[in-house]
Amino acid sequence: MFKKNSFYDFAYRRFTRNRLAVIGFAVTLFFVIMALFAPLIAPHEPSEFFFVEGQNVYDKYAAPSSEHLLGTDSLGRDVFSRLVYGARVTMMVALLAVSISTVIGTVIGLLSGYFGKIIDNIFMRLVDIVISFPVLFLLISISTIMDPSIWIVIFAIGFVSWTSTARLVRAEVLRVKELDYIAAARACGTSNLKIIVKHILPNILAPIMVQVTIGTAQAILMEASLSFLGVGVQQPTPSWGNMLMDAQKLLVLRDMPWIWIPPGVVNLLLVLAIYFVGDGLRDAFDSRQ
């Protein structure tokens, strides 16, 4: 898969020996497949309303049956189908948000670490400002000002969570920058841009990949919290966060666990699996072992 005895070859071998990481990867893959093939897996449309037989009344809060594996919700929609489609929404939000935060964080970290001085000072104070606001506060402010939509959620999470990537990349650049081969490249008259892109970036890719994995897990949690609070993904689009909103009603919480426990459990499973992958990657890239 990788060039024999290269850095990534060793990392790959270490990763596949780590049982938890492999399990995590398999579970993540399972949810990715669920998201990709949602229309084939879900028995119903996620926003389809069901009626009580022979009557013009929504069949709401139906108990699990062969027709509705996890029952129906407060509006008579199939919970299982919403769960399957929810995987799509969750993955899309998390992956796009992490792409945004990784690009911003990497660029700022590279510039900050490589050029230092004033640039570093300005960017690091900017990081200090952003991290002073608890993430959820900033997200809530952004999503209340703009009309909530899935895109606002994606951009809000992306623009709020780049700070840890920026700090990590900066620290890595500071470490790599002093190495001899960079000095050699500079002595040859290589341009700054080429040094950054061709010599520094490939050498700090491993920690960035770990950060992307952890960041994806955190983005999933942020999206779920926002949607649970009603400022994230809006009805009728299903998300694992907004499917739990109903459980704030005592009746649902106490008597209808099939409505709120499954979306919570899949959310936990996916985040946990991604964290296992992240931990596995970190250990695999750590060549000191």
Partner: protein
């Protein structure tokens, strides 16, 4: 030492200015006219314009910013759109409740997290270590609102040993010691829910620090001297492993305040988070901005304190 503290203080000045600019910017971007709820609908456009002028709403942005800052420094955050309540009074009413909750969660996360991390490190690669590491990952990975709902379902609804929400039993009208235990009784579940993620990160961090320290030369020296294992672990390793944990003090403050939003709304805890959630529903931007500004400042102070504490306990980082 004094020089380090002075440097840290100077560095936080642009940050606090940035915080106020960001808060002000978000507030200015929010839709809606601050006058809309106060004026008599029959007022003429000229009179409306005149009152906008009088209130300074037509001033250039930087003038508005400095006026706003002048008021904020004196603790005046303006009035709510509906009901004309003083925002600072509303917040001051809630602040102590949030501090009770976050402080309990803060203490809980270190009192539980540090020993768990140390035990996992000392028994490295044992079954106990694996289960503790697994559990702390679950703690990081579980959505806090889901954990909160599970806890309410289990301990309040099924077992009935704790109240499902609120801060006190108002009907009972307890006083004195009974009042104190009543609040404690209401506090336990939300404090556990709020601290779970933090317990998990503190224990993971403590474990990896402890393992790093155990690889150090001075530990090998101590072993070579023939010191007892207990003395090496708890006197030499533990103390040094604790040093970096101080940095988590600062990091856990924004985490706890964020968590308070969710925990308070699930448990009906009458704190700032619950006020914030209500403010979102009612589109009370003034309250949201005041909460943003206050928590950001608290977080900044927390980070400052933990950086200074770090320098106090570890002389190596002072320069």
């Amino acid at each position: 030492m004094l020089k380090y503290i002075a440097k840290r203080l100077v560095m936080s000045i642009p940050v606090i200015i940035g915080i106020t600019i960001l808060s002000f910017g978000i507030m200015k971007l929010s839709p809606g006219d601050p006058l809309a709820n106060f004026v008599n609908p029959s007022i003429s456009m000229e009179d409306l314009e005149a009152s906008r002028d009088a209130l300074g709403l037509n001033d250039p942005l930087h003038v508005q910013y400095f006026k706003w800052i002048g008021e904020v420094v004196r603790g005046n955050f303006g009035y709510t759109y509906s009901g004309n309540h003083q925002i600072s009074a509303l917040i001051m009413e809630r602040l102590p409740n949030t501090i009770i909750l976050t402080l309990s969660a803060f203490v809980l996360s270190f009192v539980v997290g540090i020993p768990v991390g140390v035990i996992a490190a000392v028994k490295k690669n044992s079954r106990l270590d694996y289960s503790l590491t697994f559990l702390s990952l679950v703690g990081v990975a579980i959505p806090s609102f889901f954990f909160g709902l599970l806890v309410i379902y289990l301990f309040a609804l099924v077992l009935g040993i704790f109240p499902s929400g609120g801060m006190e039993n108002i009907r009972a009208g307890y006083t004195g010691f009974a009042y104190f235990t009543d609040i404690l009784h209401h506090l336990i579940l939300p404090a556990i829910v709020l601290s779970l993620g933090n317990i998990a990160s503190v224990s993971r961090f403590t474990r990896s620090n402890m393992l790093d320290v155990l690889k150090e030369d001075y530990i090998r020296t101590a072993r070579a001297k023939g010191l007892r294992n207990k003395v090496i672990l708890y006197k030499h390793a533990f103390r040094n492993a604790l040093i970096p944990v101080v940095t988590i003090f600062g990091l856990s403050i924004p985490f706890l305040f964020s968590g308070a939003y969710i925990t308070e709304s699930i448990f009906n805890w009458p704190g700032m988070g619950q006020l914030g959630i209500k403010a979102i529903q009612d589109r009370e931007y003034g309250i949201i901005m005041a909460l943003n500004l206050i928590t950001a400042t608290l977080v900044l102070l927390g980070n400052l304190t933990s950086d200074i504490l770090y320098a106090v306990v570890d002389p190596r980082i002072r320069n």
